[in-house]
Subunit: 167 residues, 2 copies
Amino acid sequence: MDLFVFGALLVGGMAAGISGMLFQPGDWYKALRKPTWTPAPIVFPIVWTTLYVLMALAGSWVAGRPGADAALALMAAQLAVNVLWTPLFFGLHRVRIGLGVIGLLWLLVLTMIIVFWRIDWLSGLILVPYILWLTLAAALNFMVVRLNPFIVPIDPSQLRVGESGGR
Amino acid sequence: MDLFVFGALLVGGMAAGISGMLFQPGDWYKALRKPTWTPAPIVFPIVWTTLYVLMALAGSWVAGRPGADAALALMAAQLAVNVLWTPLFFGLHRVRIGLGVIGLLWLLVLTMIIVFWRIDWLSGLILVPYILWLTLAAALNFMVVRLNPFIVPIDPSQLRVGESGGR
């Protein structure tokens, strides 16, 4: 286990976590029509925190082995796309673009798991919960798009200085 | 040059680019008081695109060399933090948290450049424009905070379904 790689990837996961903390689902999300199998809001931060730790762990396990460069480059790509999704969905209410982004993320993570698995199967295995959760999240995003055809995206650039988008 | 690493890191840079495209500076940013040395808006996308390509290039050059794992893990961390800044600043108008995030980003990138330089000095060198630009961006963020004490952050969760933050 490479502690430096673990720490660095944890910082990356933290960035995604901060994104989730600042772009909270609030009244907007509550008012959306959602499928019956939608997890309770409290579940999301717990699951995501666990997943970010597992990603950092997997990265630290493959570090130093042949092929780790490709694995960590994929880690960088998927982490960046992961951070992007939350502001698009909860920040701009751009649920359709969000669906495209989560689709790309799913493909990146699938590729990443295959690359990790080939280097060290255990590192690949601890990333499986991530893609399972992403599958659920993508399905939820899809259902939000289907069930709520009238979502208007936010244009934050149109708000003035000293004018809040909230109440 | 590792083409797979190059491509993967380019996807990561693309995520940051999309973030910049969707969270555009508009009337809000225009109305802010900014220092005289603020670059014209058109400069930003050109510079950032160049920087993301340079990052991917640097990563693809160190790939396969001893120490590349630490370098690429730092790349993952800084890319994730980079994607986070734009939605915070332009999306939520959270210019103070943005300043903290860009400070963290600056430190990560400095560390990354040192790690890259030790592996292959040319890879480190092509990342120097990135930290110079970040220094300017951080100074600009700092001046926006100082010159505009009355910025009200947006709370996107308080907007309703079908209600836009714009006009």
